[in-house]
C-alpha cells in the first residue's frame, strides 16, 4: 500500500494544491444552495404526497386497533359481569333450594308428629271406649248372671223346699239378699 499512499499524497502534481486540498477547499457554494433547494423541494413533495398520507394511515390504523382493543376489553368486562351474575343466580337458587328442602323436611316432620299425636290420642279414645264398653258388657253380663243365678236359685230352692211359695215374694226376698251381698 505504500506506493499508493505516496501517489495519493503527491496528488495532481505541482500546479494543483493536492487532491486532499481540492476535495476540502474547492469553492462549490452553488452545490450547497442547490442541495438546500432540492432538499426542501423533496421534503415538501414527500410531506404532501408520501409522509402525510402514510402518517394519517398509520394513525388511523393505530386508532382503530386501540378502539378494537378497548371494545374487546369492554366485551370481556361485560361477559365477566354476566358470568358473575349467572354464578350469583345459581348460588341464590341453590340456597333457595336448600331452604325449600329444609322447610319441606320441617313440614313433613310436623305432619308426621301431628299424625302420630292424633293417632295416639285416637288410640287412647278407642281404648277408653273399649274400656267403657267392656265395663258395660261386664255390668250387663254380671246382671244377666245375677238374674240367671236368682232364677236358678229360686228353681233350686223351690224344688228343694217343695213349698209353694209365692213366686213374687221369693223373688223379692232373693233380690234383697243379693243387694245386701253386693253392698
Amino acid at each position: 500500500m505504500l506506493p499508493a499512499v505516496m501517489i495519493f499524497a503527491s496528488g495532481g502534481g505541482g500546479e494543483s494544491e493536492g487532491w486532499l486540498g481540492r476535495w476540502l477547499l474547492s469553492y462549490d457554494f452553488g452545490l450547497s444552495i442547490w442541495s438546500i433547494i432540492t432538499f426542501f423541494v423533496v421534503l415538501a413533495v414527500l410531506r404532501w404526497k408520501a409522509w402525510g398520507p402514510l402518517t394519517a394511515a398509520l394513525d388511523a390504523r393505530e386508532k382503530s386497533i386501540k378502539e378494537s382493543l378497548e371494545a374487546a376489553d369492554r366485551a370481556k368486562a361485560d361477559a365477566d359481569k354476566v358470568s358473575q351474575d349467572y354464578d350469583e343466580m345459581i348460588r341464590k337458587a341453590r340456597i333457595e333450594a336448600q331452604e325449600i328442602v329444609a322447610e319441606a323436611k320441617k313440614a313433613g316432620e310436623k305432619v308426621k308428629n301431628d299424625i302420630e299425636a292424633k293417632a295416639s290420642s285416637q288410640a287412647d279414645v278407642i281404648v277408653q271406649q273399649a274400656k267403657v264398653q267392656i265395663e258395660n258388657e261386664k255390668t250387663a253380663a254380671l246382671k244377666e248372671i245375677k238374674t240367671l243365678v236368682v232364677d236358678f236359685s229360686l228353681d233350686v230352692a223351690g224344688k228343694l223346699i217343695e213349698k209353694n211359695l209365692d213366686a213374687d215374694d221369693n223373688h223379692k226376698f232373693v233380690e234383697q239378699t243379693l243387694t245386701k251381698f253386693e253392698g
Binding site: F8, W23, F29, L31, V42, L43, K49, A50, L54
Partner: protein
C-alpha cells in the same frame, strides 16, 4: 497523456467544477449544473417517485393494508418516529412536526449514498460520484439541521428563552462567560461535525475502492500475468468493500438523522 492516480481518484470523488453541464452564474455565485447537482437531482427524483408510488394506496384509502413497497416505507417512517424522534425529541406534537423532516433526511441521504454506489451512473453525463461525499452538499444538510435546532428551540422556549438555554441554570456567574463561549462553540461545532462525518465517510469508501482498482496500475512494473492476478484480487476485495459501503451508507444516513434529532431534542429539552 499522463494522468496521475491522484487525479483519477479526484475525478471520481470531487465535483466536476471545471466541466459544468450547464454554466449558471447569479450574484457572483456559481450555480452551474455540475455532475453533483445532476446526482442530487437523480436522487431526489428517484426518492420522490418511489415514495409517491409506495404511498399511492394510502392516498386512495386511509385504511389500506401495507403491501410490498409501502411496507418498507411504513417501517421506515415508524422506525424514524419511534426509535429516533420519540426518544430524542419527544412524543406528540413535536414528533408529528419533526418526523417528516428527519425521515426525509434519512431517505434522501440514503438515496444519495446508494445512487453514488451504482457504477452504472458512469454512463450518465456527469454521473458516477457520490454527492454526499461533497462537503458542500453535506454542509448544506448540516445548515438545515443547524437552522432546525434553532427553530425547535425558539418554538419551544421563545426567541430569548432559546438563547438563554445556552447557559445551563445554576452555573456560578464566574464561569458563565466560559460556559457561554463553550456552548456557542459547540453550537457551531455540531453541524460541522455532521458535515465532515457524512462527507468524509462517503468519500473514504470511494477513494478506497478506486485505489484498490488502481492496484494493477500502481504495480505497473510487474509482469502482465501478475498484474492480472492483482486485478483479480482487487475485484474480489472491492466486492467485499462494496457490501461494506452499503452498510456504511445505511449507518451514515442513520447517524446523520439520529444526531440531528438528538441536537433538536437538546434544544427542546435543554436540561437533559
Amino acid at each position: 497523456m499522463h494522468e496521475s492516480l491522484g487525479d483519477i481518484i479526484l475525478h471520481h470523488v470531487t465535483n466536476g467544477l471545471d466541466h459544468p453541464l450547464v454554466s449558471l452564474h447569479f450574484w457572483g455565485i456559481d450555480f452551474s449544473i455540475t455532475k453533483h447537482v445532476v446526482m442530487l437531482w437523480i436522487s431526489a427524483f428517484l426518492l420522490t417517485s418511489i415514495a409517491i408510488l409506495a404511498t399511492r394506496r394510502y392516498r386512495k384509502n386511509i385504511d389500506a393494508q401495507p403491501r410490498g413497497l409501502s411496507q418498507i416505507f411504513e417501517m421506515l417512517i415508524e422506525f424514524i418516529r419511534d426509535e429516533i424522534v420519540k426518544p430524542n425529541i419527544g412524543t406528540g406534537k413535536e414528533a408529528r412536526l419533526w418526523t417528516p423532516m428527519l425521515t426525509t433526511f434519512f431517505a434522501f441521504i440514503l438515496t444519495c449514498n446508494f445512487i453514488g454506489l451504482i457504477p452504472f451512473f458512469d454512463f450518465v453525463p456527469g454521473g458516477s460520484s457520490t454527492v454526499t461525499g461533497n462537503l458542500y452538499m453535506t454542509g448544506a444538510l448540516a445548515v438545515i439541521t443547524f437552522l432546525a435546532i434553532i427553530t425547535a428551540g425558539v418554538m419551544k422556549h421563545g426567541f430569548i428563552g432559546h438563547w438563554k438555554n445556552l447557559a445551563p441554570h445554576g452555573v456560578p456567574i464566574a464561569v458563565l462567560p466560559l460556559i457561554i463561549v463553550i456552548e456557542v462553540f459547540g453550537m457551531f461545532l455540531r453541524p460541522i461535525v455532521l458535515m465532515v462525518r457524512l462527507g468524509a465517510n462517503m468519500t473514504a469508501g470511494h477513494i478506497g475502492m478506486i485505489a484498490i482498482f488502481a492496484l494493477p496500475m500502481i504495480l505497473s512494473q510487474l509482469p502482465q500475468g501478475a498484474q492480472l492476478g492483482v486485478g483479480f484480487v482487487a475485484v474480489l476485495l472491492n466486492t467485499g468493500i462494496f457490501f461494506l459501503e452499503i452498510i456504511v451508507s445505511l449507518v451514515q444516513a442513520y447517524v446523520f438523522t439520529l444526531l440531528s434529532s438528538v441536537f433538536i431534542g437538546m434544544a427542546i429539552n435543554p436540561e437533559h
